[in-house]
Symmetry: C2
Subunit: 327 residues, 2 copies
């Protein structure tokens, strides 16, 4: 029976991963770690959550020695690029160092375990249009402290696999979307605002945003966690895999699709404070490697993701009892 | 007047840097930081040493705010590749994290200061013979936890320069040699053993070592610190420079030169425990960039370095009062 350790267990991606485990129905046991206490339940498999600061290497070591996980999904991360510019030390510690704190006990205590090291498309950094779609062989040129931290995490993963024989598999994950995502992320914020307008009976909405010409590779979180599961089962030790849709969507296209799905006319207004200097116009990945090696391919199309997000925000805003006043 | 902050001030390279400052004779003030207390003096410029663990970010911040250095030479490092395999977390913390702890206070407190971030040829990692001599444009492919830590340090340096405008200059420094180097380094260990044999009146020596066919790029520490000084004065912000001789020397050639210089016949014997798996046969850098930009070029030839190291060990072993029994 697999014993899963999921770090960052109270987050958006973890929730969908637990749902997938439930769907799979294979017997397993899960312990989640998180900085905040949270009650997670309602699954058929046993699950518990321990509050832990992953900077406390001794506590993690003790925990891992005791629990002896067979699979680790490491989702805990300070993943904001903007925050990494404001607090580079904090960002670095809470990405690279916490990862090392989770990984090294396996080496030191000789615990056999498959580890998924979740990285980011931010590792690629500045790229030229001719290099798209980005493949795993692309040189890494990180453009933010967060990107540097993820590159270090990946390089350490590779060395732990090659040098110590640890069964570590790495990802470079592109933008996620899906129900349950917080509104600090661009698409979820768009959907929330449109749903708020519709609930308030408005037929139109002025939506402030950064540059909507930018093109990004968005993948539904349910496809993301399916890829993670496949990698935890069959990913090759020491290898890195892009997790992406392979399709570029402009934010303009997102807005027009949202308008069509909800019947709300959207007028976009540029918010200067949301324009990012030197922002790359287009970032799209190739999922060719994980497709050819593991047969994984996205199942949820972009329109379906958006529809599910509309439903999510509709439910959430009605539960919050504050549906009518856009915040 | 320049206010120098030198981290790792009790080390081999720092000592030669202080000697160079003395030689230059320009008015300056130096504060050294080190984990161990050490009394350093005898210079015409004021110098003091503070004991500090660079993992203590608050202490460093307070110190930097108070001292307001104008130039930082960051030499503190856990620089052993072998140790980084044994204790990757410790190696990472004591390279990347201590560097960030020194750098970030300049950003947070807006202190104008030129910083030299000392990196390593280990950042290049696995390379093919066709890629020699290594230039700064070579993709980085670190092959040890220490190498990964140095890559992260360099990438963070570049971002701090580009993103925050900090005046950081980076190096990739190749193997150092010179008087004062500890005998945990290969050449210094060779010289010490040969000098011990000569002092004991032996005409020949059986010297155990790893693979002596390997070719490395050795640069005299006095040329190294001259390069560091030039970079602290004129190095371009956010740029990385190889610090190397550009000349490959095989360890066999080192041994034959030593034999010639001392009159001791050396028989090499392979020590299996010193053979490193996957060791690269040849690593040589190009110093073209620092030469063309700053006019720096090595002044001390390899033979002179070895002679000075022979004299150093002769002096040291006679002072230690234990000249006759090889350890």
């Amino acid at each position: 029976m697999q014993r899963y350790l999921v770090t960052g267990v109270s987050g958006f991606v973890a929730k969908h991963f637990l749902n997938l485990l439930e769907e799979k129905g294979e017997p397993c046991e899960v312990i989640g770690l998180d900085v905040n206490s949270s009650s997670i339940g309602g699954y058929r498999f046993p699950i518990s959550v321990e509050v832990m600061n992953l900077l406390d290497s001794q506590a993690i070591n003790n925990f891992i020695v005791k629990f002896k996980p067979t699979r680790i999904l490491h989702l805990a991360s300070f993943s904001s690029v903007a925050e990494s510019w404001k607090s580079p030390v904090t960002s670095f510690n809470n990405n690279t160092n916490i990862f090392l704190n989770v990984l090294d006990p396996l080496r030191m205590n000789n615990i056999p375990c498959k580890v998924l090291s979740v990285g980011s498309s931010e590792e690629y950094g500045v790229v030229t249009p001719a290099e798209l779609p980005l493949r795993e062989t692309q040189p890494l040129n990180p453009g933010s402290p967060y990107g540097v931290a993820r590159v270090a995490q990946e390089q350490l993963s590779r060395l732990f696999a090659q040098g110590y024989g640890l069964d570590v598999v790495m990802t470079r994950s592109f933008n996620h979307i899906g129900p349950g995502q917080r509104d600090q992320f661009v698409i979820s914020s768009f959907v929330k605002q449109v749903v708020q307008a519709r609930r308030a009976g408005h037929k139109s909405l002025v939506l402030r945003s950064g540059n909507t010409k930018v093109i990004r590779d968005f993948l539904d979180v349910r496809d993301v966690v399916r890829a993670y599961f496949e990698l935890l089962v069959n990913g090759r030790k020491g290898e890195v895999y892009n997790i992406c849709s392979g399709i570029g969507q402009s934010l303009d296209h997102v807005l027009s699709t949202l308008s069509e799905l909800t019947g709300v006319t959207i007028t976009q207004e540029v918010a200067p404070e949301l324009l990012r200097p030197n922002e790359l116009l287009e970032i799209v990945g190739s999922a060719g490697k994980i497709h050819s090696e593991l047969g994984w391919t996205p199942r949820i199309d972009f329109r379906t993701s958006l529809l599910d997000m509309v439903d999510y925000w509709d439910d959430k805003l009605s539960q919050d009892g504050n549906p009518d006043i856009p915040r």
